[in-house]
């Protein structure tokens, strides 16, 4: 039911590459964490089986993060700006569908980071009087179009909350 009449806009396939690069960076942190734990196992002379399990677990998590999650994330996010509201559907396992009336929006921000700038990927953060919502993994032109579309509609609507 949550997928019924889902929002129209899907992500561009190009963002998968950026997501994978992100996973590689995460993998680096997994490796550092794993190395620290391996040192502790060695230092306290815990059974070698712990070290083997740790390595297997780290590799497994990295593989999921690199090979599976980017595709699932790409498929899971959908959004649509209607004349009076914004609708977002996202979440791989925990699916969330939300409606944000345009008149409630107070601020629209575009966010990026050094890696995302290289791939021209941005995320759009929408703030209301007490909630924050994000549409992640948008190409630069999509993010700009989404922000522009919302700003135009916000101007049309008046509210003081």
């Amino acid at each position: 039911m949550i997928e019924e009449n889902a929002p129209l806009h899907k992500l561009d396939k190009a963002v998968i590459q950026y997501d994978k690069t992100n996973s590689l960076v995460n993998g680096l942190f997994y490796a550092i964490g794993c190395a620290v734990l391996l040192y502790i196992i060695d230092r306290f002379e815990w059974p070698i089986v712990y070290a083997v399990l740790l390595i297997i677990l780290t590799v497994f998590i990295f593989c999921i993060d690199y090979f599976v999650l980017p595709y699932l994330r790409y498929k899971s996010i959908r959004y649509e700006v209607h004349p009076t509201y914004l609708e977002i559907l996202k979440g791989i396992f925990f699916r969330t569908r939300e409606v944000i009336p345009i008149e409630r929006i107070q601020q629209v921000l575009i966010k990026d980071n050094p890696i995302s700038r290289r791939y021209r990927v941005q995320s759009v953060e929408i703030q209301t009087a007490g909630t924050n919502h994000t549409v992640p993994l948008l190409l630069e032109k999509e993010a700009q179009a989404l922000k522009k579309g919302m700003m135009e509609r916000i101007k049309e609507v008046q509210s003081d909350v």
Partner: protein
């Protein structure tokens, strides 16, 4: 530009008084620790030195702040300059001022001062201590510039309004505090304490936390020592009852001090709440700023036909540090009717919030949801109680069983009581807690966002969670109905989704 004014010198005394009350409790505890170690004199002297040092440092800071703080009116703006090291300037547009609220602590009252908050929809200015004469001058000046301001009611400004001002058409009368809508007598305050389960909960926590229970009572019961069982059980019962009575008495005294002479006045545009015995408060709530209404009823209140009613407002900036202990206004939640007869509530709400209908919720939680409310908590309590019983404390299974029973009760109540009601412009959320039931009433135009959550396991059972957010304080208040039928969840979701905002409507409007 009006002349720059300083706060009253008494602000140094009121701040010192506040610091004294804040420091007294931790330092007392510290002294008692020393007392139990048998080094009373030494600990007392250390405590006294720390106390005097802190008070002196605080006084120096307060003095610098006092010297560097000034307020004045310039170009239709009320400006406050302050700051210890970095000078801050805060200004508010006079035409946007909604109200001037006052509060007086014991120190303020002794020195005939007032703590004043000038409120706008965006930000507030707090003047920590000004004399009543200064307050009179400020309100008069601001009132002359903006007739929409609610003047603080501790002083009868109308007596001092000049003939010239009276002659002006828009300022010819001072706005009154409105009609008395609701008040609490001393008897009501005692009833409020008796019906408030927080005293009972404090007792239960005290009972289980005290080593007296763990070390003596349980040993009495389970070791079945005949020698001490006969008399002391009665004595222990007396002690327990005594503690229970003491907690109630203490709660009653606190309630009376805080809520003494609790009154709510109403006008067409705002409500004013006044209360307090030692520290008096006068707080104005602009009706346009009310985001949601909330009714909370514990089982004791329900049995006696009473309920508790509060409202939420949006605030746009952090309360000033000096005002952060304003008990009634934490996170934008304000108690409106601490104790009100259920059958009188509708008429009271009708008179100040005519747009709300307070519809009763229809109960929607399906039977298949019960286990989902409790499964993780049950698992957690069983594991924790078992582990603690096995390794640390043999009687841990007793509180464990109590928590498990409470969780089961919570699951059953959630199934029996959770629900919602929809009308064209309003939604009611009804959610059961273990000891109470909470009903939140929201107007569609006040809702910030609505969302539905589902995961594959819930999807398979055709269940979903629905959350609705409204502004409260600087953040938002979440009202969530868990594990309801997904059809009901989407009924709520589609109700909130603007009807005339879809692409089809837009395209047809354009063409």
């Amino acid at each position: 530009m009006s002349k720059k004014n300083r706060l009253h010198k008494g602000t140094l005394a009121t701040k010192a008084f506040k610091r004294l009350t804040n420091l007294a409790f931790p330092l007392l505890i510290y002294s008692f620790i020393g007392l139990s170690d048998g080094e009373f004199l030494q600990t007392f002297l250390i405590t006294l030195t720390i106390f005097i040092l802190l008070m002196m440092i605080g006084f120096v800071f307060d003095l610098i702040k006092y010297i560097r703080t000034a307020y004045y009116i310039e170009n239709n703006r009320f400006i406050l300059k302050s700051g210890l090291i970095i000078r801050k300037e805060k200004d508010i547009q006079i035409s946007r001022i909604q109200s001037i609220d006052t509060a007086e602590s014991l120190a303020h009252r002794l020195l005939k001062l007032s703590k004043v908050t000038i409120q706008t929809p965006g930000k507030n200015i707090l003047l920590d201590a000004i004399s009543l004469k200064q307050l009179e001058e400020i309100t008069q000046q601001l009132y002359d510039l903006n007739t929409a301001i609610e003047v603080p009611t501790n002083i009868d400004i109308s007596d001092n309004v000049s003939e010239e001002t009276l002659a002006k058409p828009d300022t010819s009368s001072t706005p009154s505090e409105g009609d008395l809508l609701y008040q609490l007598s001393i008897t009501d305050l005692i009833k409020l304490t008796l019906l408030n389960t927080s005293a009972i909960r404090s007792f239960i926590v005290f009972f289980f936390a005290s080593s007296f229970v763990s070390n003596i009572l349980i040993d009495f019961v389970f070791e079945q020592s005949d020698q001490i069982l006969r008399v002391p059980i009665l004595v222990l019962l007396f002690i327990a009852l005594g503690i229970f009575a003491m907690i109630y008495l203490f709660s009653a005294v606190i309630t009376i001090i805080k809520q003494y002479h609790f009154r709510v006045f109403s006008t067409d545009t705002q409500l004013t709440i006044k209360r307090g015995l030692l520290e008096t408060n006068s707080q104005t709530i602009v009706l346009d700023n009310v985001q949601s209404l909330e009714e909370k009823q514990n089982w004791l209140m329900k049995l006696c036909g009473f309920t508790f009613f509060s409202l939420s407002i949006a605030t746009h900036e952090q309360e000033d540090e000096a005002d952060s202990n304003k008990e009634n206004d934490t996170n934008g939640k304000i108690v409106l009717f601490p104790l009100v007869k259920t059958d009188q509530l509708t008429s009271l709400i009708e008179s100040c919030f005519p747009e709300y209908h307070l519809a009763s919720a229809k109960l929607v939680t399906p039977k298949r949801s019960i286990r989902r409310f409790i499964q993780f908590q049950l698992l957690f309590f069983i594991v924790i109680a078992t582990v603690i019983s096995k390794f640390f404390w043999i009687y841990a299974w007793i509180p464990g069983i109590i928590l498990i029973l409470l969780t089961l009760l919570f699951g059953y109540l959630s199934y029996k009581l959770n629900g919602y009601a929809l009308s064209e412009n309003e939604v009611t959320f009804q959610v059961a807690k273990t000891f109470s039931i909470k009903r939140t009433y929201l107007l569609k135009e006040r809702i910030l966002t609505m969302k539905v959550n589902q995961h594959p396991l819930l999807k398979r059972a055709a269940l979903a969670k629905v959350s609705c957010f409204s502004a409260q304080g600087q953040l938002s208040q979440e009202n969530q109905l868990k594990f309801i039928d997904d059809k009901d969840a989407f009924e709520l979701f589609n109700w909130f989704k603007p009807k005339n905002g879809g692409h089809d409507d837009y395209e047809s409007n354009k063409s």
